[in-house]
């Protein structure tokens, strides 16, 4: 009886992991909206908000993007060590089942300027979403994300600027029309970048 109790306890003994990822600094939404369209100048905005996370040419002028992303992932794991021993299958002890759930919070501020450096538009976005859910089987103790956060983690465009010249043709041809200011997590299944989809590749 005692052996079965111990076995049951080991089977259901859960483990949990908490993973957090934070990119960038807080976006001061109220300050972004405080700049008056048609009057505020780029120098004034840069002075107050500092350098943007992304900058891009936009029409005759340019656009500045400020962004902050926080990703929280919780994992729940089960170990099969005792079960493996009881069944005479020791290899089971190396396996860990993980279930993950990830939430993302985005804060984005966008400011658009004309050729003279005068503000012609600004917007602020704050939203929270269930970024994904997933499950994995990992060996022993492996603390890694179960939910694919690749689109959030991808390197800033500025760091791959020279490398863009070597991209495959569907992507390279589309560069001139690519929205350099897209927020992290934006997919390529719809919109301008859907031109980069390749049959069977599932897009970038």
């Amino acid at each position: 009886m005692r052996a079965w109790t111990v076995l049951l306890a080991a089977l259901v003994a859960p483990a949990c992991s908490v993973l957090a990822l934070e990119l960038g600094e807080d976006v001061p939404g109220e300050r972004v909206l405080s700049f008056e369209v048609g009057r505020a100048r780029r120098a004034e905005v840069l002075e107050e908000l500092g350098p943007p996370v992304r900058v891009a040419a936009h029409g005759d002028g340019c656009a500045l993007l400020y962004e902050h992303v926080r990703l929280d992932e919780g994992q729940f794991g089960l170990s099969f060590e005792s079960l493996g021993r009881a069944l005479g299958m020791p290899w089971l002890s190396w396996i860990k089942l993980s279930l993950g759930n990830s939430d993302a919070r985005h804060d984005v501020g966008l400011l658009v300027f004309d050729r003279q450096g005068v503000l012609v538009g600004r917007a602020v976005g704050e939203w929270q979403e269930v970024f994904g859910k997933g499950a994995s089987v990992q060996v022993l103790v492996t603390v890694d994300q179960v939910v694919d956060a690749g689109t959030i983690r991808e390197a800033p465009l500025a760091l791959g600027w020279g490398r863009q010249l070597l991209l495959p043709l569907p992507v390279g041809l589309n560069l001139a029309h690519r929205a350099d200011l897209e927020a992290r997590g934006t997919g390529s299944k719809a919109g301008q970048r859907s031109l980069e989809l390749e049959p069977g590749a599932g897009g970038r």
Partner: protein
């Protein structure tokens, strides 16, 4: 009594033996010379494109604008910390961007700029 403690003691020993920690730092981008120089090293209407290049080196990105050009410098640093206690694991990762942006007119004279301050 000794026998009763044996499995519990073994379990505790196993948990301690399997405990671990995560500690990693990484960086990618250009050297953040703007942090040492500070904003006073650049003057609107006076500093030229070649002076910025001389002081900061090649930018991460060059933008071609209708009014002129813009240089964008970026250093991405990531710090990860965590503990592995088997039954409870915690991992936090924080990425910060040190950056500088410079706008020039078609004569190559600085019109607007901003630089990140060093993180305290």
């Amino acid at each position: 009594m000794g026998r009763a403690l044996r499995p519990a003691g073994f379990a505790i020993l196993l948990l301690v033996a399997l405990a671990g920690c995560i500690h990693s730092d990484s960086a990618r981008g250009v050297e953040p010379r703007w942090e040492e120089l500070g904003p006073d090293a650049f003057v609107r209407g006076s500093t030229t494109r070649s002076e910025v290049l001389e002081r900061l080196g090649p930018p991460s990105q060059i933008l071609s604008l209708a009014e002129g050009t813009a240089f964008y410098y970026l250093l991405e640093t990531t710090r990860a910390r965590g503990v592995i206690l088997v039954l409870y694991n915690d991992r936090g990762e924080r990425t910060r961007y040190s950056r500088a942006v410079f706008f020039f007119d078609d004569q190559g004279t600085l019109t607007d700029f901003a630089v990140s301050r060093p993180e305290e």
